[in-house]
Amino acid sequence: MYQAIVDFHSANPHLVKVLIAGTLVSLVCGVIGCFIVLRRMAFLGDALSHAMLAGVVVGYLVMKLVTGQEAHALAMLLGSIVAALITVVMIGFISRVSRIKEDSAIGIMYTGVFAVGGLLASLFADKIHIDLVHFVTGNVLVVRDSDLWMMAWVAVIVISVVLLFFRHLQLVSFDPVMAASLGIPVLLFDYVLTTCTALVVVSGVTIVGVILVVGLLVIPASTAYLLCDRLSRMLVVSALLGVSSFLLGYWFSEAINVAPGSAVVLAGCVQFLIVLVIAPRYGLIADWLRRRQAVPQQVVEDILGSLLRANEPNVHVGSVAKYVVGGHSRIRRALATLDRQGLLRLSGDTISLTPAGEKEGQRLMRAHRLWETYLEHVGTPADELHDRAHQLEHVHDEATLDYLDDKLGHPLRDPHGAEIPQDVVHVVPGAVISAAQLRQGTHATVEEAGPAAAARGLAPGMHIIAGPRVADDTLWTFELPSGQRVELDHHTTDEITVRLADKPDDNPADQPRSASS
């Protein structure tokens, strides 16, 4: 194996260098890119890469003037990092002290610092030999040994930082307030990440140039983001995707003889688009399937409503289809879902409601009829009642129904004369409810009685039986243990709380079940 590598190296010394450089750079770009993506700093990577030019030129000039060395790699690296940090500090400063927002501040500073670099480079064109075109577009093919060393050091530093301080970086990125409360220096870690980004950008520029380096940072990380639910895995996947996009892009550029930088970033993009479509949880296909599987609430309600109205134990699928909007397959899917949820039993072509399904159906029918009563109450024309209530019945959380019920004086019948089903959520054995919710024939024990009710002879602990409503359903009647009957208005009845008997057998009131629509 080793011998094979050595042989390969001696046969293609340059190719090995290119592969090592590209792998190192795309790997660290993938790792740091995760933090860039999660912290929404993509534009920052762009800013840093542009600021680099000034740093490179200054680093070059200083070493040339001080020691006479040409293109001193370490000096240019340090220059780049310093320029990058100055840019970051200036961006923060401008957006803090002025009304300029951060995105504009980034635009101002990175073009400004880039321009300084361009100016210096042309001013000292006779002293420095930087290929500006190379700088802008990058070229992995001319990678030098000094570049390779720089990339290796960047990789070692960045990966060590991420491994050693993984928890800190995770916490600072996810919840800086908690990080601060644990005594983690949040600002310091912000700068650590920025410095790592600057280092990675510097090594990335060599390969793909200033313009495309952001792609190397952001694309593999975003691809991994679509695939992973843990940061630790995202880092690994992103690094692997970075390397694979480099290898694919490089192979492609060799095959058709184009600029490797563009090919590498394009390969990353293709990887991203494929994952965007096929990612198991966050992909487009998964999303489409989920939406296809999801049964619209309206279909659920229509099915339960039609089953309840049919009022027989076994209903044929065909008779449900008449009342439900949607194609046959859609109804089938909805029925299967409801079967899974335990609301009905589907065997072949016959459907039967389970007790849970019946309860949910009662609730929905109650919602519809309460809404109809409400609409009539607020003066909606009679011919619009049903349709409007059909729209509104989909608003049926418990608080809404309680509000309507109470506001309308706990009506027993809707405007069409059909019985409004009793509240099956609150009115259950053993529950404590308002006496106004009691229907005729229900037994209950008084828990508390307001002063007006007490004056009429009701007292805590007393066993009462609800009688019929009288005076147009506006007065409640109760039979007291003494056999006496009292008539109470809505307000007085609302002030009485009662406890229902624990066992349903003690409560002879049958649950109203109406077959009419």
Binding site: D175, L182, R230, L231, A399
Partner: protein
């Protein structure tokens, strides 16, 4: 004018506490983000073992107070002491449950990993997490009944479940003081009940809880003490002494009518 000055406000709280230890002492705290202070000369002594609600209109500095106690925002003046020590020395003794809206729910992190974050303060940076950390995280998740979701990504949970995950993190941290920013915002009634239940159990374990709360109608029922805040401390004490119409009218100004209707 009612308990306007700091001494007046704190003395209301002092009565009836006996000799409870002071968990959080806020002294002359002023915090600003610009020319208008977010908090101005706030003085507050919160005894240990109580469930304390912080109420006040929008933008009254409720979250800022929490963040100042956590040491996340720098005070222009004044200081925060936790159990008699400067806040910097008590790092890790305070746990924080963020507002739902301020969390990135798409962050690639699972329920269990969030709970494990509670243990970060227990380990030096070079130490790996141990079985004890996992055990503490799992116990905390068990307490808020979230164990079965431990491998879910946090975005794949309902609102109430998300809230409970962060409660678990605070539990795992083993902190003596819990600061919660609007835990009841945007959850349904059943979830609100469940969260309150966890808060009450935490208090029973001897912890001090400070909860930013927006619903005046339930404040009296939920909390032992109430902090009424609008930049300055307007009152601190038992609900019946703080939730007085004249005091609320001063703090809430025009927005009070809605509350009065609610209270009816």
């Amino acid at each position: 004018m009612i308990t306007r000055n700091a001494n007046g406000a704190t003395s209301t709280a002092g009565s009836g506490n006996g000799a409870r230890e002071i968990a959080i002492a806020v002294e002359h705290l002023t915090v600003s983000y610009g020319p208008t202070p977010a908090l101005l000369d706030v003085n507050l002594q919160i005894p240990a073992g109580l469930l304390v609600g912080v109420i006040g209109p929008n933008g009254s500095g409720k979250s800022t107070l929490i963040k100042a106690i956590l040491g996340f925002v720098r005070a222009d003046f004044g200081e925060v002491k936790l159990f008699g020590e400067p806040a910097e020395k008590a790092k890790g003794r305070v746990a924080y449950v963020p507002q739902r809206g301020s969390v990135d729910w798409d962050f690639p992190i699972t329920v269990q990993e969030v709970a494990l974050m509670g243990r970060y303060g227990q380990r030096r940076w070079w130490q790996d997490r141990t079985h004890a950390d996992y055990a503490a995280a799992d116990a905390a998740l068990e307490m808020v009944r979230m164990s079965e979701f431990r491998h879910r990504q946090i975005g794949q949970l309902s609102g109430g479940q998300q809230q409970r995950v962060f409660m678990a993190r605070a539990m795992a941290q083993g902190a003596d003081i819990l600061l919660l920013d609007e835990p009841f915002a945007g959850v349904d009634a059943a979830t609100e009940r469940a969260i309150l239940d966890v808060l009450e159990r935490t208090r029973a374990a001897g912890k001090t809880l400070v909860v930013v709360h927006h619903d005046l109608a339930t404040a009296a029922e939920y909390f032992d003490r109430i902090v009424l805040l609008k930049q300055r401390l307007f009152a601190f004490g038992p609900p019946e002494r703080v939730l007085k119409p004249e005091l609320l009218a001063e703090v809430y100004e025009g927005k009070l009518r809605a509350f009065m209707d609610l209270a009816e």
